[in-house]
Symmetry: C2
Subunit: 205 residues, 2 copies
Amino acid sequence: MADGMALTARRKRLPPEARREQIVDAAVCYFAEVGLAGTTRDLAKRAGITQALLYQYFGSKAELLEAVFARVYLDRMSPRWPGLITDRSRSLRERMLTFYAEYTGAIFSYEWLRIFMAAGLAGEALNRRYLDHVRDVLLAPLLEEIRFAARPDAQPEMEDLWNLHGGIIYLGIRRHIYHLPTPDDVMPVIERAVDRFLAGFAIGH
Amino acid sequence: MADGMALTARRKRLPPEARREQIVDAAVCYFAEVGLAGTTRDLAKRAGITQALLYQYFGSKAELLEAVFARVYLDRMSPRWPGLITDRSRSLRERMLTFYAEYTGAIFSYEWLRIFMAAGLAGEALNRRYLDHVRDVLLAPLLEEIRFAARPDAQPEMEDLWNLHGGIIYLGIRRHIYHLPTPDDVMPVIERAVDRFLAGFAIGH
DNA sequence: TCTTTAATTGGTCAAATGATCAACGACGGG
DNA sequence: CCCGTCGTTGATCATTTGACCAATTAAAGA
């Protein structure tokens, strides 16, 4: 019946840039779901193109995965965060809550968490570079701010900050890696965690 | 020269149970390193046996992986922990520190963490069952204990406990999944985290 | 020592997979 | 309306991989 309609949908011609975008989009979704060992054929089928076309835009599967990594990580690290963290015109608590609201808003996605974890297991250097960046650009300044606000006899270490950070990230891991039920709104949990953390270093609101 | 010696080493005949054990041991190590998509041939090579021999002991790769999961998870959940957690003759802080010392001692291994994470990504139901067990048998009783000790106006929720738990587990993830440097001794970090947590609910030592 | 048992192996098959290429055909320019 | 460009496709190749089986041989019992 609708045969004519369905058949006319085949062989759509796209400008290279648009096609490339479409492939990377589909690849992000596909590899997040089935893991980095997913096949180029399944990916092509899901993207509605032929497998051969993938190799028109990417020289190899590894090259395609590079594009996937770039897409997933790029622009998910807001350049505003370092400035936000060190803005002493706002209370430290307020800064931390705003930061973690935006940060979890950026990375608590099915695609990001699963591809990041898969890349970690695969030994991709990308993860270490990313987390080094998190430590140097976000956590280190934040540690400075907390130390500045904390009593001299209760100074936190970087490991304490990783502990706070990990407790928050673990929420996303439970949700997207293990498929366990988690609160729809993560902010109340994060708020309490930040409050406990700051109180632990004798920092009031 | 040493040819005779080297050649006599080939084709060692083992009793089935011992050979099976050896295969599972090698498989745990191998799959933890390369991921669950590792090949039976590489595994066999590493185990010093032929690939065909794997199929003498396991009907399929999936069945072998089942044995790997069983090996990794079995007996890593001590039956002593529930009793330890609810033993009110000891201080809550002491119980929590003892528990997390033993718990991290049990699961902070390269093999456990990586296979557990890979299984989670692969969608194995095992992970959910394991974490449900952790919640029901360990965290739920622990939550009861903390609520008992906490002030009525500062009662923790399960999500707060997951937050503490996650912050601790994240240490192992950084170490074994992301290969990032972490403290050799995790207990000082855990001790401070537990202390902040308890203080947050107005529980003294 | 001889026989029997079964643990182990080399060889092989079928399917899956990454990668390649000649040919097709949709689109824009003349 | 025709033509040339190039995005796209179907077919195909070389490996890899899970799985299987007949032949081999180490080890135990008579």
